[in-house]
């Protein structure tokens, strides 16, 4: 399943055991993105023991921050029940906003393996 990028939402590509998110996220109505994504994540996670997510966001607004937080919380809960979950947060060199944002999400996760990777 692929959710195509728009001017204001990232491209999201799902495989059986993970997904890749790339772009910007500041939609008009975050629920139009969050509902299908959460549903898909719940379905895929129920069917696999390991799941990995690559995220490269260049900008997201405050409503999207809440959505990302909810996704990570959901993943952390799944990881606490024995799933192997890995998140890689990519940020561009000099993009301290996105580096800081990733770092703050990381601080609140106990069970997910959260990696920060700088892009050159």
């Amino acid at each position: 399943m692929i959710i195509a990028a728009t001017n204001r939402t990232p491209e999201i590509i799902f495989s059986a055991s993970g997904c890749t998110v790339k772009g910007e996220c500041y939609p008009e109505d975050i629920t139009e993105l969050s509902k299908p994504v959460m549903k898909k994540l719940a379905k895929d996670l129920a069917q696999s023991d390991a799941y990995s997510i690559n995220i490269e966001l260049h900008y997201f607004n405050s409503s999207s921050a809440k959505f990302l937080f909810d996704v990570f919380e959901f993943l952390d809960n799944a990881a606490s029940q024995g799933k192997e979950i890995e998140v890689t947060w990519f940020y561009r060199q000099d993009d301290d906003s996105m580096e800081e944002a990733g770092g703050e999400f990381q601080e609140d996760l106990e069970n997910v393996l959260f990696k920060m990777t700088m892009l050159n």
């Binding site: 607004n61 921050a65 809440k66 000099d94």
Partner: protein, 178 residues
């Protein structure tokens, strides 16, 4: 010659206002003007970090007008958003009409944020993101905290104008020294 046209031109040039939108603001309009603002900011040659902060404040302010300006249009609200170059960096401003009820709520929330340092703002952000949106909020209720965190400083005021109350909301992004 229309002297007001020249006045507008002069005001914008002398105060360094390289972007200004005033009027009915919807999400569709925001999508469209965002592309222009992004190009303008990229052309300033500043770092991704600075551009992201300015753009982030601009989006939060614009969405604030769309959602909360009490002068409503179908799918949005009326107000103005502008971005200016200053001696120290950038100034991002928004003005919209506000109701008396919102004035109290907004004033209280912003005063609290103004008194916080970086650590306290981070704490407030984390607490808010973990809880459900506050009453009366259409987004995650994080917008004001986001502006406070991304800006070098911000201020706000309420001005009586033509029998209505205007909410002025300004954020500054300073360029790193050196």
């Amino acid at each position: 010659m229309d002297s007001k046209s020249i006045q507008l031109h002069e005001i914008m040039i002398t105060r360094g206002t390289f972007f200004c939108y005033a009027g009915p603001l919807s999400e569709t309009v925001l999508t469209s003007i965002s592309s222009g603002v992004k190009c303008q900011l990229a052309d300033t040659g500043n770092t991704v970090s600075v551009i992201n902060k300015v753009f982030g404040i601009f989006v939060e302010q614009a969405q604030n007008i769309i959602r909360y300006s009490c002068e409503r249009i179908d799918g949005g609200g009326v107000g103005s958003v502008s971005i200016s170059s200053t001696d120290s960096g950038f100034k991002i401003e928004a003005i919209n009409e506000i109701s008396q009820a919102d004035r109290l709520r907004v004033g209280e929330a912003l005063e609290k944020l103004q008194a916080m340092d970086g650590t306290q703002l981070k704490q407030a952000y984390k607490e808010r993101i973990k809880s459900a949106p506050p009453e009366g909020s259409l987004g995650a209720g994080l917008g004001f905290i986001e502006v406070a965190r991304r800006s070098s400083r911000f201020d706000f005021s309420f001005e009586e104008h033509d029998g209505t109350t205007l909410f002025l909301y300004r954020g500054w992004v300073d360029l790193p020294a050196g």
